[in-house]
Amino acid sequence: MSIWNAGEECLDLEERAQQQLERLQSTLNRAYKNVPFYRNRFQLQGIDPAQIESLGDLDSIPFTERAHLAENYPYGLFAVPLRDVVRIHTSQGTALKPTVSGYTRQDLAVWREMAARTFTAAGVSSSDILQIDLDPGLSNWGRDYKDGAEAIGAGVIPLTILPPEKQLMLLRDYRTTALVTTPSAATQFMHLLFRANLNPNALALKTLLLAGEAPDADIQAELEEQLHVKTWVHYGLSEVPGPALAFECRERSGLHVSEDHFLPEVVDAVTGEALPEGEVGELVLTTLTTRAFPLIRFRTGDRVRLLPDNCPCGRTLRRMEWLPERTDELRVIRGVKMHHQQILLLIERALGFPPKACRFFIKRQDFRDYLEVWLKVDEELFSDEVKEMERLSNRLGSGLAQELGVPVTIRFKEDISFASSGRSSGQSSRIEDLRHSPF
């Protein structure tokens, strides 16, 4: 399979180290000059960007966390004036306020290039018809994927919010050959296909690009076997913002990180200290070329391991193994990240008062993942009219679904008990994953 940009993807390792140092230093200089948040934090630590003389010195710089993105809502972390920003993205974030990120024209070109290189690595070309099916919470990625697919000349069916049955219809009728989706949505597709008595051989689909969720070897194997396709895993972050900053190549031995644009570090999730290559820890990313929205040492919460040695595919971009468990309390539903405190705050805002008790579950029904919220009914919530309770349930459910970008079901309960391990605050539990539970 060919390589989209061999000059960058196969760059000599010494040249790569030099390139990363140069780009890191200019990123730090720009962030220091143009973003008060970073300047203040550097100054508090007594750090001048000129002190960063090697990639190893980066660990003297404080981390950027998701909370900082919310605190600087909407434009506090932008490093260019708004008139230079040509696209503004909103992701639902993990707090009450969404995460806002911006792109300059150059940033868009970088993302287009990165998406193009991931498609090329998966063998997608101008002779493919590529369909993008992601949940609304990942609509940012849909646009970047569309741009990248257009760059390689593929025919694109852009992200359109349609029910799975309609997506399946497009897949069949439009002769889609490559599909970008999440592993859970792909699994749902597969089951819908069989339920509709459609033979996978009747589809033109040959490439399944899986984004948004850590890979599960069993699910990948099942998808490949049942749908007669090849699957390719992509890693992305909605905050950075972009869909495919690491991708699988034909060797299927880890995901190549686009190190010419991002500097990966692996740190101990508890101590924050850098870990040696090969050890499992939290992935921390620093943007190297982003103009509008640089992120410096951003804690992703994803567990990874950087793999040693070069890949036989010829790319010198380092590879990482992406592990399913996270290092934080965020949970992922159909590629969308959420935190139980965020859901609690959204419910409180919708009700006008804090709920007495609630529990959150990720469930799967009809092969479709969704969030189920249990709310304890007390005097404030209770109404003796069923219709009133239904109305409240619908209002809460649709409001949460809109904010989070995933399907939500509300259940009222007379009493809610917490398993001791699941409880994390006065009135709510962490999000419990019951997808693989028999109940």
Binding site: Q18, L21, Q25, S26, R30, P49, E53, D84, A109
Partner: protein, 247 residues
Amino acid sequence: MLRIRNLKCYYGRIRAINGVSLSVRPKELIALIGANGAGKSTMLQTIAGLLPHWEGEIQLEKESLQGLKPPGIVKRGISLVPEGRMLFPPMSVLDNLKLGAYLRYRRREHSQIAEDLEMVLDLFPVLRERAKQPAGTLSGGEQQMVAIGRALMARPRLLLLDEPSMGLAPFLVRTILNILVQLREQGMTILLVEQNARAALQIADRGYVLENGRIVLDGPAADLLADQDVKRAYLGKDYREFNEGRA
């Protein structure tokens, strides 16, 4: 070919360059742009060995230039075309050109020097016509050609040029820059410092933006040409906003 890491240069106690990392790959034409006083010329003079007080790493083909004086650096294959040409006005064009090969005469490379002189005169035909004329009597553009020709007479692997367009009429600027493109096409590696940012970026492969002794932007030259910050600061828009920051 040229690899610089964490360069810090001093004039007395004043730090003019503050932690610059920069690289030039073989056969690349790199533009280093920035405002007056940003440190562009300081960078070139340091690489050429003219400024002794610096820290960091400068490597040519993975060999350090630390401790080398200008003749040693010329021997390694780096030639500087200085700002303001710095010709010897009373001397003839030919003698000015031959001075560029001064170190090679000591190595008795006479026949190769003669070949190179022919190559330079082919590159700048007007200099052949004025070969015996005192260099000081030439026009600005012609003097710049002599300065470039003199640098080429050292047979450099890396050519450094400091503001070659300075003081030249627009059509002469184009002539000089076209010659740089021609040299790059012939395989020369070039690091070009220019205040005429647009002209430099139009012919360069990549560029670096230097500001107060620090690199604040780098990337493919076409990207920098399209960058709004670069446009404001160096291509004629809102200089003040860029320079004073936004915070």
